[in-house]
C-alpha cells in the first residue's frame, strides 16, 4: 500500500521506474542512494517477503504436513501442492531480482550493434514499419488514442537482429511487438518504435530490452500449477462444510 502511495509523487515514481528498468540488485548497488525513501521501502518489502516466505515454509513443515497423518486424499494433496507451489513462485520471483541482468531503453537504428554480457554482440540489420510514421511523432497521450488495431499492424512491423558471440554469429531472428526473440535464457524484447526529434531525415528506430532470467520458465510453470491446484482444491471442497475447520479456519 505504501508503494502505491509513493507512486503518486513524481520523484518517487521516477525512482520506481528506474528500479523497473534494471535488475533490482543492480539498482540497489548503484542507485539506491538517490532516493532514501524508496530504498527504505524496497528493503522493507524484501524483508517482509523473506519473513513471509519463512513463515510459509515453517507452516508447511509443521501444520500442513500433519494433515497426512490420517491418510492421503486428493484434497489434501491439492492443499499441500498449492502451498508448495506458492513457496516456489516466491522463490523464483526473489531469485529473478538478483540473478541474470536487464538492460532497458536500448535505442538502435539499422546497421548499429551493441555489446552486452561481455561476449555477446547484438546487431540490428533492418527495421520495417508499415504504418503511418506520424503516429510515432505524436505525444504519449495522443499515441494512446491513435494506436488502434486498424492503425498499427503488430504482425507487419518488425526488426531483424543478429546475435553473435566473440564475433561469431550464433543466431538471428525477427522481433515484433509482444513477440520477443529468445536465445536460451536471454530475451530481446521490442518495446517500441520511435523517431528521434533532432534528426531531419526522421529515421525509425526501435527501443529494445535485453534480459537474462533463468527462472522465467520455472516461475510460470509453478504459477500455473499453483492456480490449477487452487481450482482443484475449491472444486473438491465446494460442498464439504468440514473443510472450513480441517484445513484452515476461514474468517
Amino acid at each position: 500500500m505504501i508503494g502505491v502511495v509513493l507512486t503518486f509523487d513524481k520523484h518517487h515514481a521516477a525512482s520506481l521506474k528506474s528500479l523497473s528498468r534494471q535488475l533490482p540488485l543492480t539498482w540497489l548497488l548503484n542507485e539506491s542512494g538517490s532516493n532514501i525513501i524508496i530504498t527504505s521501502w524496497f528493503i522493507a518489502v524484501c524483508l517482509i517477503a523473506c519473513l513471509f516466505f519463512t513463515h510459509i515454509v515453517c507452516c508447511i513443515l509443521t501444520r500442513i504436513y500433519r494433515l497426512f497423518q490420517n491418510g492421503f486424499s486428493l484434497r489434501q494433496w491439492l492443499f499441500f501442492l498449492m502451498h508448495i507451489m506458492f513457496v516456489l513462485v516466491m522463490l523464483s520471483h526473489g531469485l529473478s531480482m538478483i540473478i541474470g541482468y536487464k538492460h532497458s531503453d536500448i535505442r538502435m537504428f539499422p546497421g548499429e550493434s551493441i555489446r552486452f554480457d561481455k561476449n555477446f554482440i547484438l546487431s540490428l540489420s533492418e527495421i520495417e514499419f508499415v504504418d503511418d510514421p506520424a503516429i510515432l511523432k505524436a505525444s504519449f497521450e495522443d499515441q494512446r488514442a491513435l494506436m488502434t488495431r486498424n492503425t498499427i499492424h503488430r504482425d507487419q512491423n518488425y526488426a531483424d537482429i543478429d546475435l553473435s558471440i566473440d564475433n561469431r554469429s550464433v543466431s538471428s531472428g525477427r522481433i515484433y511487438m509482444l513477440a520477443p526473440y529468445r536465445f536460451g535464457s536471454i530475451q530481446i524484447t521490442l518495446t517500441d518504435f520511435f523517431i528521434p526529434e533532432n534528426r531531419p531525415d526522421n529515421p525509425i528506430g526501435v527501443k529494445l530490452v535485453i534480459t537474462k532470467n533463468p527462472t522465467t520458465l520455472f516461475f510460470f510453470v509453478t504459477y500455473a500449477v499453483m492456480i490449477i491446484s487452487l481450482i482443484g482444491f475449491v472444486v473438491t471442497t465446494w460442498r464439504d462444510q468440514t473443510a472450513n475447520n480441517k484445513y484452515m479456519k476461514f474468517i
Partner: protein, 288 residues
C-alpha cells in the same frame, strides 16, 4: 417537472452524449448493420444508454420486490435485467471485437452481469431448504447492483478506446478475468454479509467458496498479465502502481483465508475481513 428534475434528466442524458474519452472527437455514426462487423465502426452510445436505462428499471423493480419480501417477482425482474445486461455484453463483443476489458461502462456492466448471474444460478441450483437464505441475500445483491448502476449514471455509456494490443489473447484475458474476479469477490462479500447479518452461519462456507474462486480467477488474470509484461517489457514483474495494487488485492484475499482460529473474532469482524478483497476490487475499479 420542477427544475431539479430537469437538471437531473439533462445530466443523465448528456453523460451519454459526452465526447469519447481520449480522442476529443465526437462519437461517430449512427447504428447500422455494418457496425456489428466492422472493427472500427462505433456503436451508437444511445443504444447502450437505452439498454442501460431499461436494465436499471428492471433491477430497481427487483430491488423493491426483494426489500418488500416478494422474492418471486424480484427474481423475474432480476432475470429480465440480467437478460438486458447480457445483451450489453454481446453488443460490446460484436462492436468492439473483443471481450469487455476496461473503463467504467464495460467493467461495471460486466460486474453486474456476474452478480446477477451468480445470484440466480445459486438460487435455482440450491435445495429448497436453502431458498430462505437466498431470498434474504437477494436484498444485498439488488441494492449493490442499484448502487453500481447509479455510479454508472454519471459516466458515458461508451466503450474503451481501441488499442493495438487488444488483438493479443494475453491482454484480453488479463483485463477481462480481472473484472470477472472483481465481480466474484463482491459476490462473496455479499454472501458473507448476508449470512452473518441474517443469522445463517452455515452459508459462510459458500462465501468462502466464492472468495477462493475469485482468487483463482484473479490469479489467472495476473498470470496472463505477467506473460504480457514479459513479452512487452522483457520482465514478468514491474514496480508500478498497477502491479503493486494487484499484489495488495491478492494479499487481502489470502489474509481473509488465513486468520488464526484462536483470535475468536466476532461475526461482524469476520464479515469485514472477508469483504476486504471486495473493497480492494472497488478501489482498483474506481480509482485506477
Amino acid at each position: 417537472m420542477d427544475i431539479s428534475t430537469h437538471l437531473i434528466t439533462w445530466g443523465l442524458v448528456s453523460s451519454h452524449l459526452r465526447r469519447q474519452p481520449g480522442t476529443g472527437k465526437k462519437f461517430p455514426g449512427r447504428f447500422d448493420i455494418d457496425s456489428l462487423i466492422h472493427p472500427d465502426a462505433a456503436m451508437d452510445p444511445f443504444i447502450f444508454f437505452a439498454i442501460y436505462s431499461c436494465m436499471s428499471v428492471c433491477y430497481a423493480l427487483a430491488c423493491m420486490a426483494a426489500l418488500m419480501g416478494n422474492s418471486r417477482w424480484g427474481r423475474y425482474a432480476g432475470g429480465i435485467g440480467l437478460a438486458l445486461n447480457l445483451l450489453i455484453f454481446i453488443l460490446i463483443v460484436f462492436s468492439a471485437h473483443r471481450l469487455p476489458i476496461f473503463g467504467d461502462f464495460e467493467s461495471v456492466t460486466t460486474i453486474i452481469l456476474v452478480l446477477g448471474f451468480l445470484h440466480l444460478l445459486n438460487f435455482y441450483c440450491s435445495k429448497p431448504t436453502d431458498r430462505r437464505f437466498y431470498d434474504s441475500h437477494a436484498k444485498w445483491i439488488y441494492v449493490s447492483i442499484l448502487l453500481l448502476l447509479t455510479y454508472l449514471a454519471f459516466f458515458p455509456k461508451t466503450l474503451n478506446p481501441d488499442f493495438y494490443m487488444y488483438d493479443d489473447i494475453k491482454v484480453i484475458v488479463f483485463f477481462h478475468f480481472r473484472i470477472l474476479a472483481f465481480g466474484v469477490f463482491i459476490y462473496s462479500a455479499l454472501i458473507l454479509c448476508a449470512a452473518l447479518y441474517h443469522g445463517f452461519p452455515d452459508y459462510i462456507h459458500m462465501g468462502r467458496n466464492f472468495l477462493l474462486t475469485g482468487a483463482a480467477i484473479f490469479l489467472i488474470s495476473e498470470f496472463s498479465g505477467s506473460l504480457w509484461c514479459l513479452d512487452w517489457y522483457g520482465d514478468f514483474w514491474h514496480w508500478s502502481k498497477g502491479f503493486l495494487k494487484a499484489a495488495c488485492l491478492f494479499l487481502a484475499a489470502i489474509l481473509a483465508c488465513h486468520i488464526p482460529p484462536n483470535w475468536n473474532l466476532s461475526n461482524r469482524m469476520r464479515a469485514v475481513i472477508g469483504s476486504m478483497p471486495a473493497a480492494g476490487s472497488l478501489w482498483l475499479l474506481f480509482l485506477h
